[in-house]
């Protein structure tokens, strides 16, 4: 009840104040609103405080301000056109700057895509890769990484740069990819097989073509490749259906050329590092190591039985053939073990 009364009083006061603003004096207002009589002191206070409107800016101060404003406006008008243009289009400038940044970022990512492990942009490539990998299904992820690493190894090899670590990383990813079993032959299993065969071929060539200091590591990668075949034999028929036709496990024309290059005198190895030519696509099938041709029991002799060499002896068991005694590469090659 009190609250309602208070609201009514507040509204009545406002009505009287408006009436007085319209020109009515206090007495006239109270005659119009007799119920507002108790509000007389408040209305008088409002009239009294309105006397403050009589106060105005001293004329001298106003003139000084006007002069100051006119000078300020004249200076603003005289501001160089270029700066006012920049001021007006500052948002456009900011937008262009942001777009430029985005384009630069795209350019860097694009350039990084073609980079190799020993190049400055390679970390960018790996960072972008790690993002895309999170979007892939697990069975695709490892195979994709294996293919990419192998591509890097091959590209580097054709430039005369030998990166056995990258080859081993590719093999590790391939092993991981093979853990996902396809129920029937699928494009994925075909890719797995193609990559595995290509790795074998290229590793054989690389072992013959690479300078001596890289061969130990490449041989170790080749052993990993052989071991991988043993591990994958469990999934035979799913991931690696047995090849139908055999092909010679050795020399292809490319390897012969590379072998010739590898005979470079020791002092010149760095400058004239042999480059691994890309194997023509049509030849890949023929170069694939065919398990049927592997003599029974050979893998026991040439392939070290444990998965990893004992610590401290990792580099020793590497089969190494002097460049001049390779005999067509047969001596240094390790064929994958015959599958069950």
């Amino acid at each position: 009840m009190d609250r309602e009364m208070e609201i009514q009083t507040i509204e009545l006061l406002e009505r009287c104040l408006r009436r007085m603003e319209e020109g009515a004096d206090l007495e006239m207002c109270l005659r119009e609103f007799p119920e507002a009589a108790p509000l007389r002191p408040l209305l008088e206070a409002a009239l009294w405080i309105r006397r403050g409107q009589e106060v105005s800016l001293p004329p001298r101060a106003l003139q000084r301000m006007i002069r100051q404003g006119q000078i300020y406006a004249a200076r603003a008008k005289a501001r160089p056109i270029i700066s006012s243009f920049i001021f007006r289009f500052r948002w456009a400038g900011a937008l262009i700057f942001v777009l430029g940044l985005i384009l630069a970022a795209i350019g860097v990512v694009g350039a990084a895509e073609a980079s190799l492990p020993d190049e400055p942009l390679y970390p960018v490539k790996r960072a972008v890769e790690s993002f895309f990998v999170t979007l892939m299904p697990p069975e695709e992820r490892a195979l994709w990484l294996a293919e990419r690493r192998w591509e890097e190894f091959e590209t580097a090899a054709t430039q005369g740069r030998w990166l056995p670590v990258v080859a081993e990383e590719s093999l590790r990813h391939l092993e991981e990819a093979a853990r996902f079993k396809d129920k029937s032959p699928s494009p994925r299993s075909a890719r797995l097989r193609a990559l595995y065969e290509r790795q074998g071929t290229i590793l054989r060539q690389a072992l013959r073509a690479a300078p001596l200091e890289f061969r130990a590591e490449l041989a170790r990668a080749q052993q990993e490749w052989v071991r991988l075949a043993q591990a994958l034999s469990l999934s035979e028929g799913e991931v690696f259906p047995p090849p139908k036709e055999a092909s010679p496990a050795v020399p292809e024309p490319t390897a012969e050329i590379l072998r010739e290059r590898a005979r470079t005198p020791p002092g010149l190895e760095k400058q004239e590092t042999p480059r691994l030519e890309h194997t023509p696509p049509g030849l890949e099938k023929q170069e694939t190591p065919r398990l049927e041709r592997t003599p029974p029991g050979l893998e026991k002799k040439e392939t070290p039985p444990p998965r990893r060499s004992p610590p401290g002896q990792e580099r020793q068991p590497t089969p190494r053939t002097p460049p001049g005694q390779q005999d067509g590469g047969k001596g240094s090659e390790q064929a994958p073990p015959k599958r069950r």
Partner: protein, 184 residues
């Protein structure tokens, strides 16, 4: 004339002032300077400081005039917004709070003595009276009765509801009535 009462020539002045026309700039000053000055004077309680702040407000007006677009916001309201921002900026810079508000029932020692109206200037008299109000009540009274805004304009300027402003106005006038009763 209230601060927000537009002059019939106002649009014309604004258009010319944008191009730097000195006469149009002077016209805008003459029409709005008193209202802005009064607002600042009764908020800071210092005539000299109020003059300086008024000058700043108008320089800011000239600077921002090219970006002023009339979209439902009258020029006077836009100018008042600049004045309020300048005032807040001043308080922040001075690390000073506005006058300490007194409770409606409380009276300070300086308010108990009688102050003859004819001995002090009106502005000083009103400044003293405003000290009995809380900060919000003071803002309402200055905007409503000294600047000349309507109750709706005050509510918009303070970001409050019309009902809340009416209630503040009622309490403020009651406090002023008690103050006037006391000094008479």
């Amino acid at each position: 004339m209230g601060l927000l009462t537009p002059h019939p020539e106002e649009r014309h002045w604004i258009a010319r002032a944008r191009k730097g026309d000195p006469e149009a700039i002077a016209a805008l000053y003459r029409h709005y300077a008193d209202g802005i000055y009064r607002y600042l004077l009764y908020r800071v309680g210092d005539a000299e400081l109020a003059e300086d702040l008024t000058a700043d407000v108008f320089l800011k007006m000239i600077e921002d005039l090219p970006r002023y677009e009339e979209r439902g916001l009258p020029f006077g309201a836009w100018l008042f917004r600049i004045a309020r921002a300048r005032l807040i900026d001043h308080w922040r810079r001075q690390h000073r709070r506005p006058t300490v508000a007194l409770d409606d029932t409380e009276t300070g020692p300086q308010l108990t003595r009688e102050i003859p109206e004819d001995e002090i200037a009106i502005s000083e008299m009103i400044e003293r009276a405003l000290r009995v109000l809380t900060e919000e009540q003071r803002e309402v009274v200055v905007l409503r009765f000294l600047v000349g805004m309507s109750i709706e304009e005050v509510a918009r300027a303070m970001g409050k509801s019309v009902g809340a402003v009416k209630a503040l106005q009622h309490r403020a006038l009651a406090a002023l009535a008690r103050y006037l009763e006391r000094i008479r």
